[in-house]
Symmetry: C2
Subunit: 247 residues, 2 copies
DNA sequence: GAGTGGTCTAGACCACGGT
DNA sequence: CCGTGGTCTAGACCACTCC
């Protein structure tokens, strides 16, 4: 970044470290810095952008706080990966009621993969156009060997071409999005409700119709804020719960 | 803080800004700095503790990130309060499905207040001794005029003496804990499940028995990490949902 | 204008991981 | 030993609020 590129008018004031952050964000979005790889050291970045090391540090810290980067003292700064171990605490919040239960990544069984025109709800959730094609993946997820979740996943074909041809469909879809399509889920908004199991739920989860289920409606957003995936998870919480921490 | 008070051995190394933070945390815990009041400026704190302003700033920033302090440019740094407007985004996550619905603080109707010996679950949740007396408050909460939540609240008498004599029982209990007892809820862990409504739920929530409800089991912790309150909320989510954001 | 928090810099030294 | 991120300092200037 040259001095000329730095805007400093009171009118559209944006702190220097935010401008540095913007540059680094665009490198993530454009795939110049790929998940799992190391990025240049603070000193190199400071030299390159003609800014002090402390300013680069502040930008790096803000991105680390959002789990976009991982810093390791003595080694360097790395782009965060969609690893099971990371994702387990970040995006997968179901865990066993048993205190002894170590957290495992859920096994997935794909029920169906199809494509059709977006309906109203999908259009508004994914910012899709009228008549736009949408992938629909249905799957069942098992935890500790028990069928626990029935899941419907929706994503635009334009975002993930040929997604439906992926075989086998991997367990960890977020990693597929990131590694194959260069689209990283950076944030997700969820709405939780309690619902009564229907016939399909009862069949897949091996429970009675009417059993209370936890419905999680999640929209996953990319690094640039674009909605990428809509996911409706129907969870049997007899032996499991959704954990959350409030501060 | 004098130079002598600073421990710097490699063995039990603790960064200076964390030591500064510890001092400031103890002032919150001891009630020397009360919610809503202003605390000394960065410069004054730095002088008093004999460290640089930047070190104080780092300690203040970490506490601001945890919603313990609020910083206002040009005015000063304040101790966070348990205000409705704050608490709505921090600790109350139920909101109307209607997009137009502005968020309101729920109205509460107390059903009963009693005291009895702690059972196993309450003992482990609240770190209570065998036979220790526990307050039990039952209440119903209304949102937009609809009965939405049936709530059981448990807290140790030793933590909140004469809590049961409070009349009227206020709508915002966390503020009562903070203002009357000097015990601020700084963090809460939640476990969410879906359950089927029982006869009591059906009566209070005006729904059928068996209707799916969202059960929220929350433990609220004080500034020093001590568990202060156990709360079991049974929520009718036909027209409402629990919102969450994952990063 | 005085005082607060917010940004930015330059430089020093420490802790950690690998060579 | 070197290079990395982590801590700490001192000082400058900017943006905001209130008097």
């Amino acid at each position: 970044m040259t001095q000329d590129a730095i805007e400093r008018s009171t009118f559209g004031f944006r702190p220097l470290y935010m401008q540095v952050r913007d540059v680094m964000m665009s490198r993530l979005i454009d795939g110049i810095w790929k998940p799992g790889t190391i990025i240049p050291s603070e000193i190199d970045l400071a030299r390159e952008m003609d800014v002090s090391q402390g300013t680069v540090r502040k930008a790096l810290d803000s991105m680390t706080a959002e789990n976009l980067l991982v810093r390791r003292q003595g080694r360097g700064t790395f782009v965060a990966e969609m690893e099971e171990s990371n994702i387990l605490f970040q995006f997968f919040r179901l865990e066993s009621d048993a205190t002894s239960g170590s957290k495992n990544f859920p096994e997935s069984q794909v029920v169906s993969v199809s494509s059709r025109n977006a309906n109203e709800f999908e259009m508004s959730s994914l910012k899709a156009e009228v008549g736009e094609k949408i992938w629909h993946v249905e799957r069942r997820r098992l935890l500790d060997g028990q069928a626990v979740v029935v899941e419907s996943i929706f994503a635009k074909e334009s975002s993930f071409p040929a997604l439906g041809d992926t075989a086998p469909m991997p367990n960890n879809l977020y990693r597929l999005y990131s590694e194959t399509y260069g689209k990283t889920i950076a944030k997700a908004d969820e709405k939780l409700k309690a619902i009564n199991a229907n016939a399909n739920d009862a069949k897949h989860l091996n429970c009675e119709q009417g059993t209370a289920l936890l419905l999680i409606e999640r929209i996953g957003f990319g690094l640039n804020g674009e909605p990428l995936e809509l996911r409706l998870s129907r969870c049997l919480t007899a032996n499991f719960h959704y954990r959350n921490t409030l501060r």
